[in-house]
Symmetry: D2
Subunit: 312 residues, 4 copies
């Protein structure tokens, strides 16, 4: 038996999370996310970090300051000390993106073992998104209502037809593992998904991002704003400040902005030129389109710095 005089612990509980334990936050037309269990909280991050630091920092930093310091300097292991387990219901095509994150533990409903969930995600008439012109993997605005209505009706008919074929195969005795093969990619599935806080934040940074596909972004937003915010409010705030709302300047960008910001316009121009950002089109006499230069111009504008190739 353990020593009698040792320090006794109480398990960490987060009242704000206990309140919503097991409740399903609806996502999309028939999906949900619910918290099954969790381990640790903001204090557990601090507790683990203090082991690394020994006694040394106990007085120096308060908890909030320490968490912000850890996140700002991209420390990771203390955030691994918290863990959360979710039960999700999600279309398989969004799930395909989801499980590319290899750092989670997963148990998913098997459609070999059981009949597939009788529900695929359906798109409302106003939800058909237009292919973006300037971003091959994005969308931009929605289709007109009447075009949308047609596609929605067509989708409903198609999904009904597919399900009928699936049911007929089962009736004919076809093995479930084979009968499912023509179900739509957006058929709903369910899973338990367990991940530590560090890897959850990484998942949310990518999937709450404006470049993520709308469907998985809806899930990520619920997990972030409804669940992480209740679970680890200090970490969540720090994540907003240092990761989600941060701006990164590359070495070249720093150098150009530094020269331009300090009024050395020629030096700034020389650096951009050397980087190949200032090629002129012989035809138009204008600067040739350049992705990195365009990104810098946006950043410079935000910081109130005029670049040497721009008009004041």
């Amino acid at each position: 038996m353990p020593e009698q005089n040792a320090e006794r612990l109480q398990r960490i509980h987060v009242a704000a999370l206990d309140e919503i334990l097991g409740l399903a936050f609806p996502v999309l037309d028939d999906g949900f996310v619910r918290v099954v269990d969790y381990m640790g909280d903001d204090a557990a991050v601090v507790q683990a970090a203090r082991v690394s630091y020994g006694e040394g920092t106990k007085k120096v930093s308060d908890d909030r300051g320490l968490i912000r310091y850890l996140l700002r300097h991209r420390h990771t292991t203390p955030f691994e000390m918290c863990e959360i387990k979710l039960h999700v219901r999600v279309p398989m095509d969004a799930w395909r993106q989801w499980i590319r994150h290899r750092t989670a533990s997963v148990n998913e409903t098997s459609t070999r073992y059981s009949i597939a969930i009788d529900r695929a995600q359906r798109t409302a008439p106003e939800q058909w998104r237009i292919q973006a012109a300037n971003n091959r993997q994005g969308s931009d605005g929605e289709l007109a209502p009447d075009a949308g209505a047609m596609l929605t009706q067509q989708e409903a008919d198609l999904q009904d037809r597919i399900r009928a074929v699936y049911d007929e195969r089962l009736e004919q005795g076809v093995a479930r593992e084979q009968a499912r093969k023509d179900l739509p990619l957006c058929t709903y599935t369910e899973a338990y998904w367990k991940i530590d806080l560090h890897n959850l934040l990484h998942f949310l940074a990518l999937r709450m991002d404006s470049h993520a596909q709308q469907e998985i972004r809806d899930y990520a937003t619920v997990i972030g704003d409804q669940i992480a915010a209740r679970w680890v409010p200090i970490t969540w705030e720090a994540f907003q400040d240092y990761r989600f709302g941060s701006l990164s300047l590359s070495r070249v960008e720093r150098r150009i902005l530094a020269e331009a910001g300090q009024g050395r316009r020629d030096e700034a121009r020389a650096i951009a030129d050397e980087a190949g950002w200032l090629k002129m089109s012989a035809k138009t006499g204008d600067l040739v389109r350049h992705r990195e230069r365009a990104e810098l111009e946006t950043k410079a504008q935000e910081l109130g710095i005029t670049l040497p190739w721009q008009k004041d």
Copy 2:
């Protein structure tokens, strides 16, 4: 610059694998597996193990003996020292099972970015498998030819219809990321898949197994018999002997077999009884069905040992 008098190395090449580099081994009706690159071979396993052992074993064991020793005793790190990269074309439903193995690196074709591959896996009339009665997640035999022919025709019509809807959505301007949502689960995708030898063997142990679904089993069999066998022939032989063809006896099974094998039938029976394996049905007067007892009976028969509750 490095020291001049240091030992110089040549890169490891495997002639038998170089011969098939880049060649596509066909799988299913339109899939393939091809080797893109690799690092290491049987000798690299030995080389890494000898670092662990220092100079000590150089004389003791020959390479083959060392590899077999490592695999028999479930050493893993020396096998991680070899790496292989494959290019695969595979239906998405098989791919779903494939990427549950989290220890590989993956780049998959994005159907957000590009139009989906215009091909879904099609099932020939004689390939429709019947749901197994005694195994909820397996299949057992094939449907009769005429039933199969009907399902095959129905599948072709359905897949054509789904593709037509997909194409129409694209024509209407729907974003690719959304248009794809009703494509069949068995739509082909392509990916680069990179994994180390230890984790590859684990993948093959699970996916070449008779309980794996036929489709992924077809891929695993090609990877094992055509690729791993050429790449690391000694490791592959040892894997057959110690993993794939091995038999495991649980503690209770060992105890029962030991007693029965040495003629102590009462002791053997007592152990099985205590484990709850010998309950009698009041109705039939026979032993109640028990999964673990049934498994033991199969093993005992193989070893020529008669169990005390069996007739000689």
Copy 3:
């Protein structure tokens, strides 16, 4: 806000583990292991497995039977759904072996940041182990008491001297990160160590094994027998039965035992001969020593099977 009519959950608690939460189990002369927090229990394993199986098995298997089935057939993901966090104090040389397990999360005391723990593991006179003759990496018995007493005194003097040098360096203003460089490998360190149940069982299978070094084995035994046994008693029992107490027969061993067990001695001998296990020494006229044959002989004896090259 989540739906009102959704199923509500209570967090899982394990009374037997809550009782020892935070209490330090002593290990070695100055080490300990204590449970900081945990998530899940045996029921959580079942809960996750049932998601995979859908509704299908609810009636079929009771919880204990399902857990045993999962472990027997080496299912892994349901066991990943439980997590435990320990606080350990351990000599750095044992810790070196410990953190080779890459699947855990770790926060260790930094001796860059803080002064090193003023304690190295000391060996009692009766604890000096003799190098094993037949196993290069093991030990076998203990030194005689007087030899041990001398070594223990020598160790105490050495550790005192090393610590004095460390202290003097710090006094001279040397950076902690450098001053520590000559501290003994067995200096105690502390860490938080968090791991899921599947990977914990893998750790315990390796580190409770008789081939593990005594020091880490002492830690593993406490974690297994005192902590895992309280936390997940059904899983722990199944682990004993199917992993720790199991016996594995290779393909060749199976074939030889099957032939011998069924009385076909010539066939059994032929298989062993073909495998190269029956080479005769020209000098002695006896069988040449062969590691795999020796292993088989031990297994055959346990099962009461006489091998054809053995005397009845």
Copy 4:
């Protein structure tokens, strides 16, 4: 056999790396790093990315532009497609930091199996570093020569004494696994270390950083500047630009700099005040020291932006 008409591949070779294959780059007084083998190069990163993008980008981007785009936007999987294997000789205390990176494969010399390497890292008189005052885990400058000389002599005597005790234990028959326990933390060890390019870059970002301990930084610098630079020159250049030389602005920093840069000093001050960065000391009448404010001041100075609480 594979299809005859399939595309044939040649293995990727990097001439600049082949030239140094196996050669030992010396590090510290007796350590080294040498390349054992590798898989892939810059082109393999591009090749994998193009699979993701399908045919779409073939014309758009040249290879260099694509690699820079991938690294700038923190894409990771294409960089996982390259792998490198190193043989290193390194003091155990630096190795302890090294193997905290859990994404590599490792085979290390076992001092259970073999006698420990008869060499510990020795510190020259001019290499004793002074504990930093303003950074608990860093160093700052070196000790005076005479103090250094004394410590160096003391270290040599101590290491000789420790080794003599180790040798005597072995002579007495003590098991190697136990005899080693008082060897210094800086005893040299050797290992094979294999890692993919993405994780190597992450390792280098942390260990080439000015906050890393000098010893591991020496190793990382050799791996980066001598090996990675030869292996994947385009990726290495991009890494310098976007990771190593980059500057990150938090959400608050962005907002303050934007307001200040655009001349809205009051708004800038209000944001800093709300964040708690502008507390005044009642005693001195100056701003209280604040770590985040100090970091921002450094960044603002670089960009030529005057903050409202600073004098012009």
